[in-house]
Symmetry: C2
Subunit: 322 residues, 2 copies
């Protein structure tokens, strides 16, 4: 029987491990997921994951796995595969999940953190397909993203490049846990939106938000703000527009410094808000250098939650094809 070569793509988070069989052209031939059960340790999780992948392969018998790409939530050394101090998988500190899974399945394996691989996935199989360079900004609880230059993730000298959440958008802004101040994550992330709204509510501004959280300001979140904005609440709308404006400032800086072919905006918050994206683009335009220079397109992501999984496949295929 003729076979189709596939990469085994893995995306490991704190609660769920996802696996897929993905061809070089990005076709997903099978996919499934199981609970991570992180506390039971990394070796047990890799054994269950190997079993899952074997079952999936059995259901697509013409698929021939040739390598493994793994996206994982936390800091991992792509060269050695060593995973360290993962906030969401603390029991896995100092393990090598990709190597262990590769050994169980007898396949070469490569690993990178999930945020970076989401960028690579979007570049290879998503909105970036066919481009040469891409910058991605993701807006969720935090602000993340990454850089692709000439087809490859750019990690910089120490592997820290692409910390887009920590570019400074307001030099007088508040101190961030990163050690800096006024960075994008402090001004525009879901956490920042909640903080800003909470401060204004605590100062006595009237808002539907107070009712939605039943007076418990600890329950204010970007989701609540999106809901309140949808019902016409001025404070919520103001906070969300402020965040979109700062995101636009960050996009403007990325464009002036890096001139990528496209800038991709993703993440939970930006997806959920009809006013968010146009506002962000308008702010980027107002802040970006544009005299005699066309602005690079700013576009939304298309892969959504699959970006990390497809990025894991892209990593494996890049390594396999040299």
């Amino acid at each position: 029987m003729a076979t189709r070569q596939v990469a085994l793509a893995i995306d490991i988070g704190g609660t769920k491990m996802r696996g897929a069989l993905i061809t070089e052209s990005g076709d997903v031939l099978a996919r499934d997921d199981i609970p991570t059960q992180a506390a039971k340790g990394e070796p047990a999780a890799m054994k269950r994951l190997a079993a899952l992948l074997r079952r999936m392969n059995a259901e697509v018998p013409d698929a021939e796995p040739v390598g493994i790409g793994m996206a994982i939530a936390g800091t991992v050394d792509p060269e050695t595969g060593l995973f360290y101090n993962p906030p969401n998988l603390p029991a896995w500190h100092d393990t090598t999940p990709s190597l262990d899974l590769g050994e169980l399945l007898g396949l070469p394996a490569w690993v990178h953190n999930d945020a970076s691989l989401a960028v690579l996935g979007e570049y290879v199989y998503g909105i970036g397909a066919g481009t040469k360079s891409l910058v991605m900004v993701t807006l969720g609880t935090g602000v993340g993203g990454g850089l692709v230059f000439d087809g490859h993730l750019y990690g910089g000298h120490r592997g820290y490049a692409g910390e887009i959440g920590h570019l400074v958008v307001d030099s007088a802004g508040p101190q961030c846990a990163c050690g800096g101040r006024g960075c994008l994550e402090m001004m525009a992330s879901g956490t920042a939106m909640a903080r800003i709204a909470r401060e204004r509510l605590a100062a006595g501004e009237p808002s539907l938000v107070t009712k939605l959280v039943r007076g418990d300001l600890d329950k204010v979140s970007s989701e609540v703000l999106v809901k309140a904005e949808g019902q016409g609440d001025p404070l919520a709308g103001d906070v969300l527009r402020g965040a979109a404006d700062y995101m636009g400032v960050g996009v403007a800086t990325l464009r002036s410094v890096l001139d990528p072919e496209i800038i991709v905006v993703g993440g939970g918050v930006s997806r959920n808000l009809h006013i968010f994206f146009p506002r962000l683009v308008a702010s980027a335009k107002a802040h970006a250098m544009n005299v005699d220079k066309e602005l690079c397109p700013v576009v939304p992501t298309v892969l959504g939650d699959d970006a990390g999984l497809l990025g894991a496949a892209a990593l494996a295929w890049q390594k396999l094809r040299g």
Copy 2:
């Protein structure tokens, strides 16, 4: 007689054309300059430049020119050599100086704008020698700079990357001629310092600067501010420190996004001010992500005015060695 291969390095500005014979290891065997006489046109200038280079070569007879690298003040297409809309050399619009000089001398020739080649020069023969990636920020009348990744100037998708003067450091800052607002050039350049000082003087703040310019606020410049600061003038010191602080904000953003091996700071204003550099580094540290992450070194340039010329040589050698 044994010969030493040299690149003919050229740096063309609005008033002066400089030439040098430079070996691959960066030894300058000869150097000279002549007035540009820009209004007489590009063909006449290239003929005089060719004659200069022939004379220089005659004085170093064992130097064997193998190619030409040219740095030029203005926008030039590195692929076609076409020079267009140069503000300082208006009569040269739509000419190809590098190709013309190459033809006159029978040598292959390459060209790039002088600001980018100053970065390449600093990378190959200056403070960046031995590093893999470098970001440079230059502070003069404007703010410029450039990016070197993996040994080559990074131009981005449309050739506009490295516009470091236009990264946003204060989203509420004033409108810039670039079309954006609050960019580094509007908050920290020599021109910005003069503008900010002028506004404060016009509002009636007392300062030695008023005396130094004999009451003519049009004469306020970064040079005058440096002079006044040296004599203990509080307003001048304040403006200069403010600019250094914003430069530090820009450096912090470049570090978080790009994680280069080093960040190099150059340009006339930063050279002339003993307080400037430490203040800039302190601001960069206060604004940059640094939890669990070492900060990349921020260092001054070493090549000074020779950076463009050495960058032109570096360009020629990079092209010659493929």
